[in-house]
Amino acid sequence: MKITFNRIFLMRLIAIVVVLLFAMVLFFIGKQHTVLLDNKTITVNGEEIKALKMVEVQVNKLEALEFVPRDRDKVEVTRQKHTITISYTDENWEEISITRKFTLPLMEEMVIISIPTLAANPDAPQSVWLEKYELPTYAVQAAPEDEVVVTDDLAGLISL
């Protein structure tokens, strides 16, 4: 095929570029991330941060989740920018509500947010309380047995 730089070619090129850009946008807004929310006493830099007695967490506009110590739950979100709101009552019986925005790395499938750390340092950068999470190896390699691939042309006939 001979390429001539006329108007039609240009229009086609632009169309292709637009579609590609659109595809990239879709990738950004459609990528699913799992955010684990964890309310557990943890030690950061030798400093122990106690779990919160009772805390309500809301990510974006999703349903609020309640946590007691050692609770862990997850929410599934798309896009990269999110807000998290945690509300709890501290030792002085004061209602505290913290709202933070956070950005997820694009290619991260799963991150974990430590709620006590976030409550203790509400203004710290997000890397303090949000880190990536990898499934423990026993969960990943649960099924080592070889799967037999069935390429049966007729299987679709009976079930549909």
Binding site: F22, L26, F27, D146, G156, I158
Partner: protein, 371 residues
């Protein structure tokens, strides 16, 4: 001798033209009471299947317009759609963006396969159907080569839940949980207790409008001309080969989108089976709706989906209630699917010959008048 048809002949002609549809009406009329399903259940099942399958079937219309018969090569589009779905599952793109992205990925693959398929069909004029049928089989081999040996080895796939334990190749089933029913549930309304996936139906309606509009465009008219007589069209300055390729490309691309819509409703992708029978079922449904190899309208699609799938839903249960074996009903519907295609093809060939005979008579009469 006059060529005016009497009323009896007209009735005969009508029955002859709609044999398959009438046959199906009879089967359904017997099957529905035998199965014992409630009307509500049947209607909701049929609605689901209209939303699931119509897009795929509509993709068959354009090649029929261009005189290339039933495009069994739509399997190629289905494969392209599945490859798109494998990628978005691997990347973890969910919801509507996932579906749209899968469609975007499938498009260049469909276009390339469509061009290739169209070129081959141009080399096999007069036997497009059997050739497109074999093309489907042939590409299934290539598809397996790519998906079973290429993916994970040459084409990077990151997700462990997709790749076989041996390290390359996609598993038998891919869970499409991320996009499952996301198109259907976008705008789900209930009418008399029957859930209706309105958004999917709107998408299908848009496609139908596109087809209707397309038939009126210059390209659509060209295709009709090519479909009626290739040599006349060529003499009129239409690029016959190019037009035929375009019709196959459009069909393949739509088949890819249709497959994605179909699979988002099903929710799991059977990597090595899902695409194989899709062509056959779509073709059978279209023919049940009263379409022929040379003529198909939008209404044939919907009538076909409804009748064909009623038969499909009721036959296992009817078989069980009648003979005591559900398997019998399953075999019965396979038989009916293939039988329908056979009968339609035979009737088409016979009618073609018959019409040629009438044309000959007319010609003879005219010459007789001149003489």
């Amino acid at each position: 001798m006059t060529l005016q048809r009497t009323n009896l002949q007209k009735v005969k002609r009508f029955l002859g033209n709609n044999t398959v549809t009438i046959l199906f009406l009879v089967i359904c009329a017997f099957g529905i009471p035998l199965s014992g399903y409630s009307a509500n259940y049947l209607v909701s099942e049929v609605v689901v299947r209209i939303a699931r399958n119509s897009f795929l079937i509509v993709s068959l219309l354009i090649p029929i317009l261009a005189g290339m018969g039933l495009n069994f090569g739509m399997t190629l589009g289905a494969m392209a759609g599945q490859i798109g779905l494998v990628f978005i599952s691997d990347w973890g793109i969910v919801g509507i963006p996932g579906i749209v992205l899968a469609m975007i990925i499938s498009t260049p693959i469909s276009v390339a396969l469509g061009i290739w398929c169209g070129k081959i069909l141009n080399m096999a004029k007069g036997r497009e159907m059997v050739t497109s049928y074999i093309i489907g089989f042939f590409m299934n081999g290539i598809y397996q080569l790519v998906v079973l040996y290429g993916m994970g080895a040459i084409i990077p796939i990151r997700s462990n839940s997709l790749v076989l334990p041996r390290g390359y190749g996609i598993r038998n089933t891919v869970n499409l949980i991320g996009i499952r029913k996301s198109l259907d549930n976008l705008l789900m309304i209930r009418l008399f207790g029957i859930p209706i996936p309105l958004f999917t139906l709107v998408v299908i309606a848009l496609l139908c409008i596109f087809i209707l509009w397309f038939k009126k465009t210059k390209l659509g008219q060209d295709m009709r001309a090519v479909g009626q007589d290739m040599e006349v069209a060529r003499a009129a300055g239409i690029k016959v080969e190019h037009t035929r390729i375009v019709s196959i490309v459009i069909s393949t691309v739509f088949a890819g989108y249709g497959m994605i819509i179909y699979l988002q409703n099903i929710g799991t992708l059977n990597t090595y089976n899902s695409h194989m029978q899709i062509g056959m079922f779509s073709v059978a449904a279209l023919l049940v709706g009263g379409a022929t190899v040379s003529q198909a309208k939008i209404r044939n699609v919907f009538l076909g989906v409804i009748l064909f799938h009623i038969m499909f839903i009721v036959s296992p249960m009817a078989g069980k209630n009648l003979i005591g074996q559900a398997q019998l009903g399953e075999y019965f519907r396979v038989f009916v699917s293939y039988g329908v295609i056979t009968v339609s093809l035979v009737l088409y060939e016979i009618r073609k010959k018959h019409d040629r005979g009438i044309a000959g008579q007319i010609l003879a009469q005219e010459q007789g008048v001149e003489a």
